[in-house]
Symmetry: C3
Subunit: 343 residues, 3 copies
């Protein structure tokens, strides 16, 4: 692809030769001649200076010098995404169109004619699947599940009975939506299973990461809002409500019946106790252990999670304790001397 | 279902109209007219006052007023479970009876005539599967594995060779029992695999959550006791022994050769080091990092995990350090003044 | 097997009867007459004294007494591994040779004649699979993926398009290599997906544990070095580079673009932030939360992770705070008394 064409596609302004041939995309360090790279994290300034890339995407207002052609854009992240699609129009391992003969689609399921079902997928009676949705392979769609249009169910992902997915939802490999919630009650010292007869509803444009799990509700429904992005190996418990455009990094866990606001960011390996509320736009640090409600907009870290400035101050104080112990010892000594003199 | 019939099924006593028609179950907030709800967590008292439900399950000795019919029961949890089964008799996505033609069951496997094997399941030679057990779809049962009666293997769950499951065991989607233990030894700077030739034994009524893993023993067996309930994304290492009726919340991890007592409760994301012992009825808090044995009945939290009251006091002290620093500074000042006067 | 033959196979020196018949391997406590056991952890000395095993493997220079025959070896771990293979020559659930009729192998894939493909596996066009590699069942191999010789892909494991595996690589059940990286950018308050058009490269002899995930790179490649051993439920983010012979225990997580050196050891449930560097032979304690670069050879623990001796001292100081509070109170009292006297 000519650099000029690429610049047009990503809506940038070029300082360089439109006729350059661009063969691919690479990091600043790895790029070779003919490749496009990008620069946004100041941490990598020295890598920019030494890059072998032929062109680099930078922010509109970037001031600096580059050893290669420069493409200024409003949002480098967006521009890189668009460049990615330019080189690899589909990022999904599309199954062949139609229903693979080696699949098990029940005659009472209702699939749009444009649906693609790969090998070894199971679709149970009453399931409804919308236009252009792709089941890659080994997927399971339970009875009466409803899946919107343009969804992608990657290999071995599971949608249990009665679960509802919106449009453009992506389930990554091994993701399980609608597994039974974890709930038991004790009877004479023996745990008895609580049936979870509710379901899960997932909004448009949401993504559930590889091997992540979203449990069905005890009754009613577990809700994942629109545009929610969930990374790999995340656990969302039964009856949890997640607001629109919230993100969760890998291995985070939300216990049952918690309600999470919109535009919340939850860090990797963070854990949230059940039945609590997290306000809109709040942030939970990686590995934080949240035991109480979090107010809108607040950033918490640590265990138990508290506002980050407090947690950081607490840790700093902890690290200085040795010094304070010595101060106290000195005080004891001086005071003893004074008392000695008195007597 | 008439309210009177429901009350009989859940063994409650009704204050209200037996002829009311009940159409389903919902939370206090979500319920509409005609639905049953329940109240046990005092936190939700205001929701009860405003519920639109037509009937609500409460504890026998509950004192309060309700805007709708009241069903008093000994155990609200049990009553709700029974009500759940009343509306949804089977909570499992039953495969059709018999062996699906699109499955791969070896002729040298021994399946009871009442076993149900869904599509794309693999059963290897020598495997034995007891009455009424269901393999939903995409399951793998290794050679010489023994699976009891009335078990459910959900989609894509795996039972490796020689593993033994008791009766009424449930493996949720993607759960893997009998994967190879993690063990390697260094030889000239290179890790060499230690073969794990042991197996796993899972007791009656145990449940293994979605995408959870229980590794096989190096030799001998990893043991999960009767009635053990394991949530999603939990890791149980090789040679671990888990006592009866112990519960583990999501994303907990137990390293190799630990022995866990009976009726222990392990919180979400908690981690236990290898080769340690946890006494009966002990509790491990969410995210706790257990590095030493835990005595019977003790509740530990934090990292490294210590008895909870100590951990809580430690944290409280940490939060008050700023105040103590100021006290010490004041002491220094006063003492300096006294010393000054002396000289 | 005669004890003499076994001793030869594991290259040990025997103090005992070569004619003893050995039927299997077991732990010191569980072993019965006729079984082999081993002793290396001094913690289990009393178990050795009481073992019913007929022979026990010990280190060459072990001094002590044993109730049964003794086999001295240079490396007990290696000897036990060799003994394991002696009793169970293959530790893998081998699929039958050849390509199972119930699999979906594209005609444009290139498989060596010695490859074994079990039932319900999918191999997409352009994929290349080397000699003696085994796909157990339900595996997915994406288009243009390249898999070396003597690999084992356990049940339901996934290799996405263009991913490259070396030789003797093992993917355990449900492991997913090449899932899409987690990356999004905000546009008018809505998260937009960043395509990940890169790939993953896995070195010879590496193992990826049950249900673990290694994401593909945004561009370029995520790299897992030679001999890297990854336990269950581990998350390796996009563009991460892991050096040779590094090990990661269960449920550890590495965020995007981190670079991990060689011979690093990462404990269970540890988390590493993105874009940081861990030097060769460094150690990260279980549950540690790494937020900064780690120097070669350093051992860090806690959150935020710091060198272990500092972290341990910090914790010890925290536990002694109560004592120091009392000291300060006493100082205040004494000083007040002195001041009182003055006036």
């Amino acid at each position: 692809m000519k650099l000029g064409e690429l610049v047009e596609r990503i809506e940038g302004s070029l300082e360089g030769d439109t006729e350059l041939e661009i063969s691919g995309i690479a990091g600043l360090v790895e790029a070779v001649a003919g490749e496009l790279s990008f620069f946004s994290n100041p941490k990598y300034a020295s890598s920019l200076a030494e890059t072998k890339a032929s062109a680099v995407i930078v922010a509109e207002d970037w001031e600096g010098s580059s050893p290669c052609a420069v493409i200024r854009v409003k949002s480098p992240d967006k521009a890189m995404a668009m460049a990615g699609y330019a080189f690899e129009p589909s990022c999904h391992p599309l199954a062949d169109p139609g229903i693979d003969v080696a699949s098990s689609v029940h005659e009472d399921a209702c699939l749009d004619a444009s649906v693609s079902v790969g090998p070894f997928c199971v679709v149970r009676p009453g399931a409804v699947i919308g236009p252009r949705t792709v089941l890659v392979s080994g997927c399971y769609v339970g009875s009466d599940a409803v899946i919107g249009s343009d969804c992608v169910l990657h290999a071995n992902s599971v949608v249990r009975e009665r679960v509802v997915l919106g449009n453009r939802v992506i389930l990554h490999e091994g993701a399980v939506v609608g597994g039974e919630g974890f709930g038991n009650y004790l009877e004479n010292g023996v745990w008895q299973k609580i049936p979870h007869i509710g379901t899960v509803e997932i909004g448009d444009d949401a993504e559930i990461g590889v091997n992540s799990t979203v449990d069905r509700a005890r009754f009613g429904k577990t809700v994942i809002g629109q545009g929610v992005k969930i990374d790999n190996l995340v656990m969302v418990g039964h009856n949890v409500q997640v607001g629109d455009h919230t993100v969760m990094a890998a291995q985070a866990g939300i216990a049952g019946s918690a309600t999470i606001g919109s535009h919340v960011a939850i860090g990797g390996q963070a854990g949230l106790a059940g039945h609590l509320h997290v306000g809109d736009t709040a942030r939970v640090g990686a590995q934080a252990g949240v035991t109480k409600n979090i107010t809108e907009g607040v950033y918490v870290t640590g265990y138990p999670a508290i506002p980050h400035d407090k947690a950081a101050k607490g840790h700093a104080n902890l690290m200085r304790l040795q010094k304070w112990k010595e101060k106290v010892k000195l005080l004891e000594k001086k005071l003893a001397a004074l008392e000695q003199e008195k007597s």
